[in-house]
Amino acid sequence: MNKSLIIFCIVVLSSFQMMGQKFFTRNGHLGFFSKTNMEDIKASNESVTYIMDLSTGEINISALQTNFQFEKALMQEHYNENYVESSKFPKAIFKGKIDDMSKVNFKMEGVYNAKVSGNLEIHGVTKPYSVDAVFKVGGGHVLAETNFKVKCADHNIKIESSLKNNIAESIDVNAKADLTELKK
């Protein structure tokens, strides 16, 4: 009798704790792809920090620009030195929130589609974005993924006219992360 009371208490308490629960990862993925007739440029960053508050739907993402790996070393150097100017603006940061929390239920396994809106800072310029994201919930994990486009000009990233044919004006971005509970 006593035992089941304790178990009951634990279950109740832990579900309360769930309300303010934060999920996170330091090994999230952020990739981008620029396609032009001249060349394809691909880069990915596998050490992106994602933090999500499951009760409020708040999502923060932080990526170090210098951690983007390119296929060609010179592209990587130019990306950091000439375009995003990593020494001045070392991080790309997203701060946002799930628009409608009734669309998701993080306590139940399943796949949920929801819009996430927030501000994305790249190259020192912050712009509002609203993207469609997918959340797969199950087994203590939340798998979050979204695809969206970023225009270089929106973030004051200048591309010289001689390279307009090599670098797309609008870059495809893929964000994907496997979040687990943050243990304090």
Partner: protein, 274 residues
């Protein structure tokens, strides 16, 4: 949500110089791992050689080089120069890198450079005993560089050159020099460079001079064009440091260029598919 920003990773300084050379001398930069750099270097004759030589444009010293990054820290290179029919082989190794921000502090980058040069010209005196080793020259350098900001980088290059065979008995086999190099970036594609090698302790014959070069770096995608004026004809380290005879004050100045074209031989692990 306070966790963002508390991860404080180390960011190393990058692109201290545009190219693996300041002008003649090595810069702190290596070609990246898996990247091949094909270099064509050219020095015309001196400006004061007169109209019959079209102020130097008729004369050409050149070096062709193939240089490769074994990884991001170690590069090797091989070059052929028509000055004294020389072949040079070298390695450049990054020991540590300047930290721009992060929990560790490191104000400078340090690399080690070593080269061997084989001179191919016919023996000055074929009748004496000539050894293959007499054709060899060695050079060791430490490269200490600091990127002060996005524009200004400065490099100090303590140098030791050993020559197995020297012209006269009075000549020293070992030469010590200090190199000073700097660049100032004007735009994201254009930088100006200056370089000076000071031979220490009067160990060279009186006709020899210190190498002084001024130039610009122009970058266009995979190419770097380095255009410069210099009083040195040789394009390997022991050559421009110990065999320069041109004097700026007398107009023994040569126009020259280095063209660098990089090819990615081995691509880095491909990023995840989109």
């Amino acid at each position: 949500m306070s966790l963002l920003g508390d991860s404080d990773p180390i960011i190393y300084s990058s692109a201290t110089f545009k190219s693996t050379r300041v002008i003649n001398g090595q810069s702190i930069e290596n070609v990246a791992g898996g990247v091949m750099d094909f270099r064509v270097s050219h020095r015309f004759g001196t400006f004061n050689s007169g109209i019959h030589k079209m102020f130097g444009l008729d004369i050409a010293s050149m070096r062709l080089g193939l240089e490769y990054g074994l990884n991001d820290r170690v590069m090797v290179g091989l070059g052929r120069s028509n000055v004294n029919e020389e072949v040079d082989a070298f390695t450049k190794i990054k020991i540590f890198k300047q930290v721009e921000s992060g929990p560790k502090k490191m104000p400078i980058s340090l690399s080690y450079f070593a080269s061997m040069v084989m001179r191919g010209t016919a023996w000055a005196d074929p009748n004496r005993d000539n050894y293959f080793t007499s054709r060899l020259f060695y050079c060791h350098q430490l490269l200490l560089a600091r990127k002060f900001n996005d524009q200004l980088s400065i490099q100090l290059t303590p140098t030791f050159v050993h020559r197995n065979l020297v012209e006269t008995k009075a000549d020293f086999h070992d030469i010590y020099a200090m190199g000073y190099g700097g660049r100032y970036k004007l735009t994201r594609r254009l930088a100006v460079n200056a370089e000076y090698f000071h031979v220490l302790g009067n160990r060279l014959p009186s006709g020899n001079t210190n190498s002084l070069s001024l130039g610009v770096d122009l970058e266009t995608g995979g190419h770097v064009f380095q255009l410069h004026i210099t009083n040195s004809a040789s394009m390997n380290e022991k050559g421009f440091i110990t065999e320069t005879t041109g004097e700026w004050s007398k107009g023994d100045i040569q126009f020259g260029f280095n063209i660098s074209r990089v090819f990615t031989i081995k691509e880095k692990k491909p990023p995840l598919a989109q």
